[in-house]
């Protein structure tokens, strides 16, 4: 009679793993074995539930009303922008690609549409990291379908591919389609109110399709990068290096960026073949990226020395309150999860690209007077992604039982952001000052940079709390975020032009249109420079003041919230 048997053996008595490929002799006792779904069937079954999951996640945060409002708002903004197109391209410039004085060319406008879309999608497509996070957190109070391959007969690669397509479809429905609808509405006002809108109805499907391809391109490049990163070395070293190199090559104009933006080419050429090849390539690359994701569900059990107490000790400058304890805990999470490396690299790459470009381009000859002060405000914008990342590091539900409140955790995350990134930003701005030989504006640049960084992260934290990733479809939040960031940023950016070639400031577009990179002007107005400094410092002071107010108001907005991300 046979019964279950089990026994431990010593390591020395174990056999070589590859000694035999023979069956161990188990049986299903003649029971017909089930074959798990594969291919298209598995994809469809997974995609359908993932789409529902995504929709509900967003509705839960933004509430159904705001979810409907967001695409409506986008459509409205696009409608107004469409009406305004005639002022941007000039009445006579409609549907032409010729350069017009005091106006943008259609190609420039198209470029202005596709490049930000690519940047946005690059930031949203790190699916391999998301999958790992979902897996690590599957035993927490929230579980997601992306982690289901651990338990269900579904390959991890298929789950990731379905997730990629789901995100693409979701963004197309909630962002791109409302934009096209808005363009259509704007064009519709032609006949109703006699406004001249230099746009053809026939161009709308092309614009929609071209934008879909640009979105897919950004998502898939980001997906590929994260999937390669998860494969470990050498990709973790060569990946970021090649991104920096590629960024510099594009930045210095060795490769035309319009050539890289497939969507832009589709819109320009209106070529079905390019469109199909571009779209299928993106989906194909998405499938390839998903195949790089292996069925690894190991959540390492690694014994480590106490990190919390040393970390707490190092944070003595934060006093003895709860914030210091939470910040120490956040740092432990960052180091133990390995996220610190990914975050620092992803924060540094764009800066390294900018620095590399500054090395290769002589800005004194550039038509737009970009200077050290022009860079300073933009550094703050990277803070949004960084803060978002910090909020998904760990599930904070356990804190509901502790004597702390949500605003304290939010503040701790803002502090962590500042502690980790401030030195990188500082090094960047000093190196840039050295490269551009603009030491006199360095102190102001540092003030502007820090004020803007603190403000943007404080604003993000105040508006979105612990769930910034889910706030992007919340119309009411995004309106405030847009107003709160674009206005001061634009002010700082424009004022920064007063610090160099001020005659060019007044007429840079005309000069650049005529002479391109050969445009020159050399008048230097000291009064304007002084006013510019005062203006920038005033805005920075205001941003710091606004940050302090937001810091205080955090309690009112999030004081009664529960810990949930």
């Amino acid at each position: 009679m046979s019964g279950a048997s089990i026994s431990s053996i010593s390591w020395s008595d174990t056999l070589d793993d590859n000694i035999s490929e023979e069956s161990l002799g188990t049986t299903s006792e003649g029971k017909k074995l089930l074959t798990p779904l594969r291919g298209v069937s598995a994809f469809l079954a997974t995609f359908k539930v993932m789409y529902k999951e995504e929709f509900r996640k967003n509705v839960e945060f933004a509430k159904a009303r705001q979810m409907v409002l967001f695409p409506l708002l986008l459509a409205l903004v696009t409608m107004v922008s469409t009406i305004g197109l005639q002022f941007l391209v000039g009445d006579s410039a409609a549907q032409t690609s010729e350069t017009s004085v005091n106006s943008f060319t259609w190609q420039e406008l198209r470029f202005g549409l596709h490049l930000p879309l690519l940047m946005f999608s690059l930031g949203m497509g790190t699916f391999a990291f998301m999958g790992r996070d979902a897996l690590v957190r599957r035993t927490a109070s929230k579980n997601h379908l992306l982690a289901s391959p651990a338990l269900q007969p579904l390959p991890n690669s298929m789950a990731h591919f379905a997730y990629f397509v789901k995100d693409l479809v979701f963004y197309v429905m909630l962002i791109l389609s409302p934009i096209i609808l808005g363009m259509g509405l704007g064009k519709g006002l032609d006949t109703l109110f006699g406004i001249t809108t230099p746009l053809e109805y026939s161009s709308l499907p092309w614009t929609w399709f071209a934008m879909v391809v640009t979105l897919a391109q950004g998502l898939v490049l980001s997906f590929l990068a994260s999937a390669l990163w998860m494969r470990g070395r050498p990709f973790t070293i060569f990946g970021p290096l090649s991104v920096i190199l590629f960024g510099i090559i594009v930045g210095v104009g060795a490769i035309d960026i319009e050539f890289i933006l497939i969507g832009l080419q589709i819109q320009t050429e209106k070529n079905v073949l390019i469109g199909l090849i571009g779209f299928v390539s993106c989906i194909g690359l998405g499938y390839f990226s998903s195949m790089l994701i292996i069925d690894d569900f190991d959540v390492s059990v690694v014994e480590k020395g106490d990190l919390f107490r040393p970390m707490y000790g190092r944070l003595s400058f934060l006093g003895r309150g709860e914030i210091r304890i939470i910040v120490a805990k956040e740092f432990v999470d960052l180091f133990r999860s390995g996220s610190i490396k990914k975050m620092v690299v992803s924060y540094s790459i764009p800066l390294a690209v900018l620095l590399g470009m500054a090395w290769l381009i002589d800005f004194a000859e550039a038509p737009i007077p970009i200077n050290l002060l022009s860079y300073a405000p933009f550094l703050g914008f990277f803070g949004f992604n960084f803060y978002s990342w910090l909020t998904i590091l760990d599930s904070p539900e356990f804190m509901n039982g502790l004597p702390v409140k949500v605003p304290q955790l939010i503040r701790a995350k803002v502090l962590v952001y500042f502690i980790i990134t401030s030195w990188i930003s500082l090094i960047f701005i000093i190196l840039m000052a050295w490269r551009l030989d603009e030491w006199t504006s360095l102190p102001t640049s540092i003030i502007v940079m820090f004020a803007n960084s603190i403000y943007i992260v404080a604003l993000t934290a105040f508006l979105m709390g612990l769930r910034p990733n889910k706030a992007i479809f919340d119309a009411s939040i995004m309106i405030w975020f847009w107003i709160g960031t674009v206005l001061p940023l634009l002010g700082l950016f424009l004022l920064s032009f007063t610090q160099g070639d001020v005659s060019l400031y007044g007429n840079w577009w005309e000069r650049a249109s005529e002479d391109g990179l050969a445009a020159t002007a050399s008048m230097y107005d000291e009064g304007m420079v002084r006013q510019g400094y005062v203006g920038m410092l005033s805005i920075s002071a205001f941003l710091l003041f606004a940050s302090a107010v937001l810091w205080k108001l955090m309690d009112r907005r999030w004081g009664a919230a529960e810990f949930d991300n």
């Binding site: 089990i6 174990t14 056999l15 035999s20 079954a45």
Partner: protein, 258 residues
């Protein structure tokens, strides 16, 4: 029990994380119609054991075969043909119980999915929660959904990790009786727990593990040294810690100055 080939077999199976050994090499065989339990204190390696056998983890060493399928090479095929109830994993938070059960049934390409889903929804008393997202269910209800997802294809082989941890006594009994009848009908169950009462009530064979090593194995009665000895006594004797040891353990962490 008849003389048959095993349903579960692992040879030299071990799991290491760096220098940390979660499970020392072991060999195991489980045959059809058995209710086999692995018991041990917290952190003994029980969950790692079950995850290795079910294809959730890859072993650092050894070979694993389940129902004639190589579990290392074809983990999805293994997962399709067994039922797994994990210790602490919940169903996806933003799906309803019905949607989740339909999803797991479809992945296995089952027939009559709706009928099967309805049957288990009713069996677990979840009919009035059919439109509630899993995140809004109680822990016990989520556990019922996970149990239903493991039972839905009536697998011959079930792996259960602390399956009754969050269930009320009524459903504990109902599940226990179903599992016993499943074994009677030719099913096989591999259970991990630290609740020794389950061994007494359900298992025909058991093993006690600690620190990733098998300390003893056999029938429940066979593990007792004498008739007075309880399974708890056996457990404490084998694990090597007495109640006095536990009580004398330092519990206060010294408050250190920075």
């Amino acid at each position: 029990m008849s003389e048959t080939a095993p349903l579960v077999k692992a040879v030299d199976m071990a799991k290491k994380y760096g220098d940390f050994i979660a499970l020392h090499p072991l060999k195991v065989e489980v045959h059809s119609g058995e209710f086999f339990g692995v018991f041990g204190p917290n952190g003994a390696g029980k969950s790692t054991f079950i995850k290795l056998l079910t294809g959730q983890l890859k072993p650092s060493k050894g070979r694993i075969e389940i129902l004639g399928i190589d579990a290392i090479k074809h983990p999805q095929k293994v997962k399709a043909n067994i039922g797994i109830v994990p210790e602490s994993e919940s169903p996806p938070s933003y799906l309803t119980p019905v949607e989740f059960l339909q999803f797991v049934a479809k992945l296995r390409d089952l027939d009559e999915v709706d009928a099967k889903v309805e049957y288990w929804m009713e069996w677990f008393g979840l009919e009035d929660k059919r439109n509630t997202m899993c995140k809004d269910l109680s822990k016990g209800q989520r556990q019922k959904v996970m149990l239903a997802s493991a039972f839905i294809h009536k697998p011959k082989l079930l792996f259960l990790d602390e399956p009754f941890a969050n269930l009320d006594p009524i459903y504990q009994r109902k599940c226990r009786e179903w599992l016993l009848s499943h074994v009677k009908d030719g099913g096989t169950i591999f259970l991990c727990s630290h609740v020794l009462e389950m061994a007494e009530r359900m298992c025909n064979r058991m093993a006690i593990i600690n620190d990733g090593k098998v300390l003893a194995a056999g029938t429940v009665r066979g593990l007792k040294q004498n008739i007075e000895e309880t399974l708890e006594d056996v457990f404490i004797r084998l694990v090597g810690r007495s109640i006095e040891d536990v009580e004398s353990s330092p519990t206060d962490v010294e408050n250190e100055e920075e």
